[in-house]
């Protein structure tokens, strides 16, 4: 009844709307723009030529999934086309306007609590927080009006109210968002005369230093820990002026990605503990390079001062590490300064090493290499070897008449004929699209944290299911632990397991096999079983290749591409072993009278057995090609000079070949690479992932018995996996702190 009455009352109004539209619509809206948005938009678009077209901020890219989803907004009068669902801030970025922000981060959820990104939107009564405001068609955004500027100045005054004035002693100084933005929006004096708030510092472990008084409560670290790292330790405690970031109970941040909170913290509240008070960021030289501590090949920037690596930061690469890196990548750098080999050394009769000149060392080795039978020569590439040095080693050993070449970690009789059988075929970024994961004998969280972060991203974004076969281990997402050994694999392959229905119903299933199984005798049988499962579940299709192998070491993929494919059984008959940075190979079976040449940069496990040491350059000191687990070759760039008398690995091999009388035909890096292109042309296509086009079906069938022993753990200690990280004091601290529990 009431409704009808209301309708009757409203009717004159409706009628008047049609008849006397001018007056009535004036009553609804006061501006001419709303009455005629098209004309207003055209009018606003008209002065556009006066505004030069701008480039998107930070290379902001937009993709229109559906052309209908495009809409036009005006940023400072400049029209931009953006997809629906973008926020005002993103629209401004596309239009080339950088909006100041503290709490907004493109990879984290939107909090909208710093209020620094206020902009003026036409017909909005107040400035709006652009990071949290969805853009609407025809919206007129004004970013440089007095209202927007005044709003930001007000916010900045509040932020600086409780912020200490310790920029001169703050490690963030020079790369601090608050410092930069206070240059634009800050006042030269504050009106706040009370005492500044102070907050108790928190202990977040040996990597992250906290000065919580500097915190501006942007909650980026809380969101990072919850969303990306998957450790819910950090939270926002208290309220009002007593609000603070903390863990409430004494709790260190046990994440392999914890170092990233240092980067995302816009102020100096979370800084690097090992880097504290070591250098100012403007004194540092940044070198864009590649990480080699795992097989992911995270893109990094090595910041150095003079001959010293001061810190390592991540570099954006959407396909590999996004903008995160693991703690091992970030903090292993102090290992580059310790335990270094800087002179060629020869072991005396009394078992002590004596420094000798390169000439003497080379001639001793060359002489001994000729004294043994050709097939007693074994070349072993270490896990940090670059492709150039491996091809040089291979050519040298081949010219000496042997083909015993292996790379540590590749296990027994590696299969390198089909590239697809040892690569992460769906690519690291492609894992995001998968909706079902079957992880076999791999602990991605410790083997490749960046790959794990992708899996977690997929699990969070699309509720992808994860099943895991292997020893019980830590995951930072929900998994279904369906077995510990090959028994579960057989059950799935034969269709008995309840998981079969899940893999059949999945649209994009991904199987990830850990490289840890390479060391097993029944490796081929396991791979065959996995391939059976893949066939069963439609994992490998023309549009989707979900059969993946997750490698462990930076050198593995390139070694397989270059054909360093002998098994470690040749060690037992070796008389001359060329260890090129190989520290983790098991030399127990080596005859006692065998001669061991260790060429590497750290005095690590390999040195204990060595007779002669050749010092070589670490990844931060040389130019080298590393192929990551998805088959993407990348280059490292020298950031600092080599230590002492050390040389690049391939140059040492080249020099030795000349002294040994089997001179290798290359004198420059370009020549080595052209030789490399003969063996594995894909290694020359830097930063391009070359997928394997060969079908898995071409692979010969293996009929071997599966052993029922459960899968092992490939990485015992995440923080100490290679000679650099084992020499690092920070990594030692980490492993003692985090493995205490």
């Amino acid at each position: 009844m009431g409704f009808l009455q209301a309708l009757r009352r409203a009717r004159p109004l409706l009628r008047s709307n049609f008849t006397r539209s001018r007056i009535a619509s004036q009553w609804i809206s006061s501006t001419t723009d709303l009455r005629n948005p098209e004309a207003a938009a055209a009018a606003a678009a008209e002065p556009a030529p006066a505004v030069p077209p701008r480039n998107p901020v930070g290379g902001a890219r937009i993709e229109f999934a559906n052309p209908d989803d495009a809409m036009e907004v005006f940023v400072d009068g400049y029209p931009v086309k953006i997809p629906k669902g973008m926020t005002v801030l993103q629209a401004c970025e596309v239009a080339g306007v950088d909006i100041p922000r503290f709490c907004y981060h493109s990879r984290l959820s939107i909090a909208g609590n710093c209020r620094m990104c206020l902009v003026e939107v036409e017909k909005s009564p107040k400035p709006v927080a652009s990071c949290a405001m969805p853009a609407l068609p025809g919206m007129k955004i004004k970013t440089n009006t007095p209202i927007a500027k005044k709003a930001r100045e007000g916010v900045m005054e509040f932020l600086l109210m409780n912020h200490p004035l310790d920029c001169p002693i703050c490690d963030q100084g020079g790369e601090c968002d608050l410092q930069d933005q206070s240059m634009a929006f800050g006042s030269d004096r504050g009106r706040f005369t009370e005492m500044k708030r102070s907050v108790v510092d928190k202990n977040l472990g040996p990597l992250v230093k906290t000065v919580m008084t500097r915190c501006i409560q942007c909650t980026r670290c809380v969101r990072f820990a919850t969303e990306i790292a998957g450790v819910q330790d950090l939270g926002m405690l208290g309220r009002g002026s007593g609000e603070e970031i903390g863990t409430y109970v004494e709790n260190i941040m046990t994440s392999e990605l914890s170092g990233n909170v240092i980067d995302i913290c816009p102020v100096g509240a979370l800084t690097s503990k090992p880097f504290a008070f070591k250098a100012r960021n403007w004194e540092l030289k940044g070198t864009e390079s590649i990480d080699v501590t795992d097989a992911v090949g995270s893109n990094i920037r090595i910041d150095s001062r003079g001959p010293e690596v001061m810190r390592i930061l991540p570099r954006l690469n959407e396909d590999i590490n996004e903008e995160w890196i693991s703690d091992k990548t970030r903090f292993c750098y102090d290992g580059l300064k310790r335990q270094r080999l800087n002179d060629p050394m020869v072991r005396d009769r009394d078992g002590r090493f004596k420094s000798v000149s390169w000439r003497d060392a080379l001639s001793i080795v060359a002489e001994i290499a000729h004294q043994v039978k050709p097939n007693e020569i074994v070349g072993i590439a270490g896990q940090l070897s670059d492709a150039e040095s491996m091809i040089a080693l291979k050519d040298f050993v081949n010219r000496m008449g042997s083909n015993n070449l292996l790379c540590e970690g590749n296990g027994l009789s590696p299969q390198a004929d089909i590239r697809g059988s040892f690569l992460l075929n769906s690519s690291i970024a492609g894992l995001e699209k998968a909706d079902l994961f079957l992880i076999i004998g791999s602990q991605p969280r410790v083997e490749a944290p960046m790959v794990n972060a992708r899996i977690r991203k997929a699990v969070r974004a699309s509720q992808a299911k994860v099943a895991y076969i292997g020893p019980s281990t830590d995951f930072n997402y929900d998994i279904e632990h369906i077995g510990t050994g090959p028994r579960a694999l057989i059950d799935i392959a034969e269709g008995r397991h309840p998981f079969c229905s899940a893999i059949l119903s999945a649209k994009k299933p991904a199987i990830i096999v850990g490289a840890g199984i390479f060391g097993r005798k029944d490796k081929d049988a396991i791979i065959t079983t996995v391939e059976t499962i893949a066939k069963l579940g439609g994992v490998v299709r023309p549009d989707w290749n979900g059969l993946n192998v997750l490698l462990l070491n930076a050198a593995q993929a390139a070694a397989l591409d270059l054909g360093l494919v002998s098994g470690p059984e040749c060690i037992s008959s070796a008389k001359f072993v060329y260890l090129m940075g190989a520290d983790d190979i098991n030399l127990d079976g080596l005859p006692r009278d065998a001669f061991v040449l260790y060429q590497g940069h750290h005095g690590d496990k390999g040195v204990y057995r060595a007779n002669v040491i050749f010092p070589s350059a670490a990844f931060s000191e040389k130019e080298g090609t590393y192929e990551n687990t998805e088959g993407c070759p990348q280059w490292t760039v020298p950031a600092v000079p080599t230590v002492g008398d050390a040389r690049d690995d391939w140059k040492i091999v080249r020099a030795l070949s000349e002294v040994a009388g089997v001179c290798l035909p290359y004198d420059s890096l370009a020549a080595v690479r052209s030789r490399m292109s003969v063996v594995a042309p894909n290694l020359l296509n830097v930063d391009e992932r070359e997928t394997s086009t060969v079908s898995q079906g071409l692979k010969p069938e293996f009929r071997r018995e599966l052993s029922m022993s459960p899968f092992g753990v490939a990485v015992e200690n995440f923080y100490m996996t290679d000679s650099i990280t084992r020499a690092s004091k920070i990594m030692a601290q980490c492993s003692s702190t985090f493995s205490k529990k």
């Binding site: 009352r9 330790d233 939270g235 405690l237």
Partner: protein, 237 residues
């Protein structure tokens, strides 16, 4: 030189502030720091409050927990955090040990930090031990003008405790909150004595001349029937 004059004026002002604060702290005899009604925002282990302590809902309260959880969809159990914190606080004598919060986190299937965040946000969740009677004095400006500090002083003096401290017999503690009652220093001491004797003081205002939250001596405004809100006359349009 308006700028110089302004600067000089400001300096003078600052000096005055510094001087006056010095005098205040001198007379008070102790460094007056800003005191918040809430306790610390982090946990310190103590014998009666540590994560190792076992804490469970009582059997009767477990029924209540089930009932509270039934109000929310099973995938939004975390919505029950505030009712459960309240229940736990009631069960544990008016305060929440850290192990109780851990237990709630377990019940609603979230990380403990998410429960800590809520518990630290609300000042009526006490995360340190309080007395059987937790007496809260208003700390707002109007009450300060009307003498709330005298009331607090009277309470603290009578009970012989500091703020946020519990009396030795475990009966009383004094804290700060926003206004609820209308009392005088004399009356609070009387109330405390009543509580100590086990009597229940009358709730609501303690001023006999007021009816509930109405003004002293009866209403002075809003004496007639409230008028309905004015409406636009639609027929006139």
């Amino acid at each position: 030189m308006p700028a110089t004059r302004h600067g000089a004026k400001r300096l003078h002002g600052l000096r005055q502030i510094l001087l006056s604060s010095h005098i205040v702290s001198g007379t008070a005899g102790a460094g007056q720091s800003r005191s918040y009604s809430t306790a610390l925002n982090y946990h310190l282990d103590s014998p009666d409050n540590n994560p190792k302590m076992k804490w469970e809902f009582s059997t009767t309260n477990m029924e209540r927990v089930k009932e509270i959880l039934s109000h929310y969809p099973s995938n939004y159990k975390q919505s029950a955090v505030i009712p459960l914190l309240d229940l736990a606080q009631q069960q544990h004598g008016g305060w929440l040990p850290v192990s109780a919060m851990n237990e709630i986190a377990r019940v609603i299937e979230v990380a403990p930090i998410r429960v800590y965040e809520v518990a630290t946000f609300y000042s009526m969740f006490n995360r340190t031990k309080v007395g059987k009677y937790h007496l809260l004095v208003c700390g707002t400006t109007p009450c300060m003008i009307r003498g709330s500090r005298d009331i607090e002083d009277a309470l603290l003096k009578h009970l012989g405790v500091k703020r946020n401290e519990v009396t030795k017999d475990g009966l009383f503690s004094v804290g700060e909150m926003e206004c609820m009652e209308d009392v005088t220093p004399k009356r609070v001491v009387e109330i405390v004595e009543m509580l100590r004797r086990g009597e229940a003081p009358p709730d609501g205002t303690q001023n006999p001349n007021r009816i509930r939250s109405g003004p002293q001596g009866g209403n002075t405004t809003l004496l007639s029937e409230p008028k309905p809100p004015p409406c636009r006359d639609l027929d006139a349009c």
